[in-house]
Every structure is written in C-alpha cells, then in structure tokens.
C-alpha cells in the first residue's frame, strides 16, 4: 500500500512524465491550445495508458517471459499499444465526434507516443507487480494530464497577451514549458522507490 502511494505521488509530481522526464512532449504542445481538447486528450491518455500497462504487463509476463522472447518487448509493446489506440479511436469516433475532431492527428499519434511506450517499458524494467504497474500507468497519465491542463490554462491566457511577434505560438509555449519544468524541479528528491 505504501509503495502504491509512493508510486502515485512520484509519477504525478516528482517524476512528472512531461515536465521532468520529457516524455510525450508532442501532444503536450499540440493539444494544449484549448482547455476542452486538453481535457479530452487527458481522458484518452489516462484510458490508453492504464489499459496499455495492464495489457503489456500481462503480455510480457504470460507470453514473452515463458517463451523467452523478452528481447521482443519493444516490438510487441508497440503492436499491442497500436491496436489499443485503434480501438479507442473507433469508439471515440462513434461516441464523441466533436472530441474526435478536436484531437485530430494526436489520437493516432498516441500509438507511437513515447509516454505510452515508456510507461509499458518502465513498468517491466522496475519489476512492478500487476497492481503496481496499473497504478503506475494511471499515475503517470494523471501527471501528464496535469501538465497538459496547466499548459492549456496558461495558453488560453497567452492568447490575450501581447506576445512579441517573433515569439508567438510555439516559441512562447516552449519557454513557458521550460519555466514550468523549473518550478517542478522543487519536487526533486521528495520520495524514491
């Protein structure tokens, strides 16, 4: 239980996937323009990451390890995640076409998103149990969502700011992301597994 709580705390704040580990920067920059799409993306990522860690963990422990095929983990994980995302995409198109439109290219991009692959690989590398792995997946994706939502809030305000012409758009977003990362530096060393 204590370990689960540490995992939650660490991967939401201390080792935040976006702001400290620098995973998943492309959706972080791409979908953070509007709060609404950021929220939708966050939910999609939480869902995909939780499911991906669950499935890849089971796949690794019950298929790859018995067959001594651990060296195939990257290929296998990518395949599993890709089919999962395809599933989410199909469901989303049916349930919420507006969100599907809003996410656009970024939903298929989750397939090859380093954040999702990292969660699957790190869960195996850290030798988490099944429960720990799923909690890790959820915590990491909540950390991602928090970064994304904070960024969306800031960018909505920056729309109204008189940002110098040369820095508008991506440039000022990256600078903001850098300062955010500096602020999250304060959590360093709070807990470790």
């Amino acid at each position: 239980m204590e370990k689960l709580l540490s995992i939650i705390f660490i991967y939401i704040l201390v080792d935040n996937f976006v702001l400290q580990r620098f995973f998943g920067i492309c959706p972080f920059l791409g979908v953070s323009r509007k709060m609404e799409t950021a929220m939708g993306m966050s939910m999609a990522v939480v869902f995909v990451m939780a499911l991906a860690t669950l499935v890849t963990w089971l796949f690794y422990t019950h298929v790859l390890v018995p067959l001594r095929l651990e060296y195939l983990q990257i290929v296998a994980f990518i395949l599993v995640i890709a089919s999962l995302v395809q599933l989410v995409e199909t469901v989303l198109r049916k349930i919420s076409p507006t969100l599907y439109q809003g996410l656009g290219i970024f939903l298929p991009l989750i397939t090859t998103n380093c954040a999702v692959l990292a969660v699957a690989l790190l869960a195996v590398q850290n030798e988490f149990t099944l429960v720990e792995a799923v909690v890790f997946g959820i915590a990491a994706s909540i950390g991602f969502s928090i970064a994304l939502i904070i960024m969306a809030g800031i960018r909505e305000r920056l729309e109204l700011a008189k940002v110098p012409g040369a820095l508008q758009g991506t440039a000022v977003t990256l600078i903001t992301a850098g300062i955010l990362s500096l602020a999250f530096m304060g959590f360093r060393g709070m807990l470790s597994l």
Binding site: M35, I149, I150, G153, I154, E156, R157, L158, A161, K162, V163, P164, L167, A171, V172, I175, T176, I179, L180, L182, A183, F184, M185, G186, F187, R188, G189, M190, L191
Partner: protein, 321 residues
C-alpha cells in the same frame, strides 16, 4: 471648469492610480526591508540591490528601445526583489544574469508588464538556482554583522536555519523576527517585511487573503508535520513562518497582481496553495527552501483558479451542464 457643463464620453470615473504609482508604493514598502538589509549585511547588500535594480531597468529599456529608464517602475521592483532573494555575498554577475533573465524570460517574452504568467523575479531566481545551484545551496548564507558597514560579509557564512534541526536550534525566534540570522538579504527580517506588507495592505494594493492564506498554511503545516523539530509544534510552526523567504514571498511576490488570481475565493486558494507547496518542498524535498517553487507552481495554476472561481452574477442561475 468655470462652472460650465462639461461634455465627454465615458469613462467618467477615473483613478489617479497608475502602474507607476503602484510600483512606487511597492518600492516604498520595500524601503524598510532594504534598510534593514543594509544595516545587517553592510555595503554588499546595498551594492547588490543597486546592481539588481539598475540591470533590470537597463535591460527593460533596451528591450523596449525606450530612453525612459524608470518606465512604469515594475522593472525596478523586479530587480530589487531578485537581489533580495540572493545572499549579500553573491557576486555581481550573478545578480546581473538573474535580473536580465527575470526581465527577458520572466516578463518581456510574454509581452511585458501585465502579460507575464510567472512572477519575473522568481523566474530569475529559479534560473539561477538551476544554473548555479552551488551558490544558492548549502552553507553560502552570510552571517549578518549588524551596523558594520564596510566589513566583508562573505567571510563568515553558514547554512540556512531550514537546513535541519541542528541549524534551526542555533537561532531564536526573536532573532528571526528582527532579522539577525543568516539568509538572503531581504528575507531575514520579519519585522521589516511586516511593516512593508502592512503599508501595501493599507494602500489597498494587496489583498489579505494571499499573505494570510499563505502564512496560515505554512504555520499549520509546520506545526502538524514539522514534528516539533523546533522545540515544540507551536514554535515549529512559527519557526517555519519566520525562517527563509515565506514573509518576503507572501507579501511581495505571491501578491503580484498580474500573476495571482483576481477573484476573492481564488486569492485564498492561491495563498493556501503557495503555503502547501512551499511546505511540501521544505519538509520532504531535496531543497531546504520551497518559496520559489511554491509560488511559481501557483502562478502556473492561476488561469485555472480564476476560471473555476468566477463569482456568480446577481440573479444568475447555475447552468445545468
């Protein structure tokens, strides 16, 4: 107007208050703090504060390509606040780099005064902390030599009282209240900061909710989770309020009107959040002090807090989602 009827379009009610007049008030409020800093740390404090102010004003004037050095006065406040978060023994170039980074990366890239997301002075400090951490961590804080103008202050340095129980017990609460402890040059004297803070409260430039929420949260968390590290829970809480930069941050940085929420409820949430993150870093983090990080994180959350705490208009019915 000679008793004649004056016709004009709105607005009809004007205030004589301007960004400049507010910033001058802030500078006045910072005067007791600066004065105590000079009395405690001597000429090096004075030199560092001057370097901070001049660099910040010069960088802003160059960026805006205006000859008016003082401008709206916000650059001077930023430069002074940045210098106040550094040790009096900091080399001149550290203050210059910090002030330039504060103005350019902290403020001007977002569009200048009124558009920045983060408190500029704290952005400058965070950049210094990440780049020259060794100069701002460990036993680098000069021990004050009251009323000894001209003595080299960097000769005797020590760790901040926040570095651990051993360091904490070396100082008394009275010492910390007056400011006679090692630390950044503007953060040590709670007395001077309170005088400045109450001046700003009296002038109506800051809202009690931010410093109130901040300091109360620090006190409560210090008392509850400080484990009585400083004699007993109550004094530990008080210790956390007086030690380090909480007072300076609560009255002069968290209250920055551009980077804090505008709604009353939002201000309270903001203050409490600052205290919460500050104490998280202090109690559990690798850094001894968390004011910089606490306020920067809450600055980032400000747009969201504002959106969530919009007061209901009179007669407005809550929309059913």
């Amino acid at each position: 107007m000679n008793g004649k009827l004056v016709l004009s379009s709105s607005p009809h009610i004007r205030t004589i208050e301007s960004v400049r007049s507010v910033m001058v008030d802030v500078l006045v409020a910072l005067f007791p703090v600066a004065l105590v800093a000079v009395l405690l740390f001597g000429h090096q404090a004075l030199v560092n504060m001057a370097i901070g102010v001049v660099t910040a004003m010069a960088v802003e004037a160059i960026w805006l390509r205006k000859l008016d050095l003082f401008g709206d006065g916000s650059a001077a406040v930023t430069g002074l606040l940045l210098a106040m978060t550094l040790p009096a023994s900091a080399p001149w170039w550290l203050v210059v780099v910090g002030a330039a980074a504060a103005i350019i990366i902290g403020k001007q890239v977002f569009g200048g005064t009124g558009n920045n997301i983060f408190n500029p002075a704290l952005v400058g400090r965070a950049i210094l902390l990440a780049s020259w951490g060794a100069r701002l961590a460990g036993p680098v804080w000069p021990v004050p030599k009251p009323f000894n103008f001209g003595v080299d202050i960097s000769a005797v340095t020590t760790a901040t009282p926040l570095a651990g129980q051993a360091e904490a017990l070396k100082v008394t609460l009275g010492q910390m209240f007056v400011g006679n402890v090692a630390g950044a040059l503007g953060e040590t004297s709670a007395l001077a900061l309170l005088i400045g803070g109450f001046w700003l409260l009296y002038k109506g430039h800051i809202d009690w909710r931010i410093p109130g929420g901040y300091i109360a949260t620090v006190f409560i968390m210090g008392a509850v989770f400080g484990g009585g590290a400083y004699l007993n829970p109550l004094t530990t809480g008080l210790f956390h309020v007086l030690a380090g930069g909480v007072m300076l941050g609560a009255f002069f940085m968290a209250t920055d009107m551009v980077t804090s929420p505008v709604t009353p409820a939002g201000k309270l949430v903001f203050g409490v959040g600052c205290g919460l993150f500050t104490m998280l870093v202090r109690l559990f983090g690798a850094y001894p002090e968390g004011v910089t990080f606490g306020i920067l994180i809450m600055n980032a959350l400000t747009p969201i807090i504002d959106n969530l705490t919009i007061p209901r208009k009179f007669g407005e019915v809550k929309k059913s989602a």
